[in-house]
């Protein structure tokens, strides 16, 4: 596996992300990763707070319209996240917090998919999922931040 990460990090694309002095390389990719984060987590916060019983004037069925925005934000972060990982693959692949972050995101996406499915089935007993979603996204943010420190 180490060889794989070394070759990824040594690729032309990874070197460009990491070393290019261009503002469109590392700086813009990292900033887009934060834009995507705001969209994904922000959209989840809206859905979760409604499911927890706030803003009951928002019809539950209308929440489904928020999910495409969520997926778009995630697509931005998947793409930029892959590039950021490639740039420092050997370092990030041995960070425990990196795997904590990936686990939180994977579980949070499963929770979001489940919420969407249950909303389609008119099932509104989703408080536990909403709480899990909020904690998992918070966990992903903290783990992501700690990658810069540990």
């Amino acid at each position: 596996m180490t060889d794989l990460f070394t070759s990824i990090e040594g690729s032309t694309l990874a070197a460009w992300v990491r070393e290019s002095p261009s503002i469109w390389a590392y700086a813009t990719i990292l900033t887009l990763h934060t834009v995507g984060l705001a969209i994904v987590v922000g959209a989840n916060v809206v859905v979760d707070l409604r499911l927890l019983g706030w803003a009951t004037a928002i019809p539950l069925t209308a929440l489904r319209a928020v999910f495409p925005i969520m997926w778009a934000g995630f697509a931005i972060n998947f793409a930029t996240g892959v590039l950021l990982f490639m740039a420092d693959a050997t370092t990030k692949s041995v960070q425990i917090v990196f795997y904590v972050k990936l686990t939180c995101i994977t579980l949070a996406l499963i929770v979001a998919r489940t919420i969407l499915k249950r909303l389609r089935q008119q099932d509104d007993r989703l408080r536990a999922f909403a709480i899990a979603s909020l904690f998992l996204w918070a966990g992903a943010i903290v783990a992501g931040r700690l990658m810069a420190y540990l």
Partner: protein
């Protein structure tokens, strides 16, 4: 840019600044909270902005605004944690042009929201709650969306433009 260097030097010499810089956990903790705060703020504000722009019409304008108190909590968290960063490394911020752009976009977002609340909200709420919104409301929603993402953009980019950090 206003010359805040003397103020920044004074601030950097305070015990509060010393403490922020000597601690290993204050900075990453505040950064994590700053990211959570911006997500809550942009998520909830963006939802309302999109409604003002005419999207999500199954949600009434009033209902789309109902989560706004949480957005204010997110904003308060980010003002508090932002002041921690400013106190920790004041010169890095006040001498960075991008930081002043961030402050300007914050002011624009604030004035835009103030304009909506004082001049436009009552008119919009008097219309069909599930109908299209007037052009002025669409513009307010658009300006809000753009300014909050610009605040985020400047905040993240100030580490790379200019010579901070």
């Amino acid at each position: 840019m206003p010359d805040l260097i003397p103020f920044a030097q004074w601030l950097r010499a305070t015990p509060a600044s010393e403490w922020i810089n000597s601690s290993t956990w204050v900075w990453p903790l505040c950064e994590s909270l700053h990211f959570m705060g911006l997500s809550v703020l942009i998520g909830i504000t963006g939802f309302f902005d999109l409604r003002l722009m005419g999207f999500f019409r199954r949600v009434s304008v009033e209902a789309a605004r109902a989560l706004m108190p949480f957005a204010l909590v997110g904003f308060a968290v980010n003002v508090a944690t932002g002041l921690v960063f400013l106190t920790g490394l004041p010169e890095q911020y006040v001498s960075n042009r991008v930081w002043w752009f961030k402050v300007a976009f914050l002011a624009l977002a604030g004035l835009n929201a103030g304009f909506y609340e004082t001049r436009l909200s009552a008119k919009v709420l008097a219309l069909d709650p599930h109908g299209d919104t007037p052009r002025a409301a669409k513009l307010v929603g658009f300006v809000s969306l753009v300014s909050w993402f610009a605040v985020l953009y400047c905040g993240r980019m100030l580490a790379f433009i200019g010579d901070a950090f």
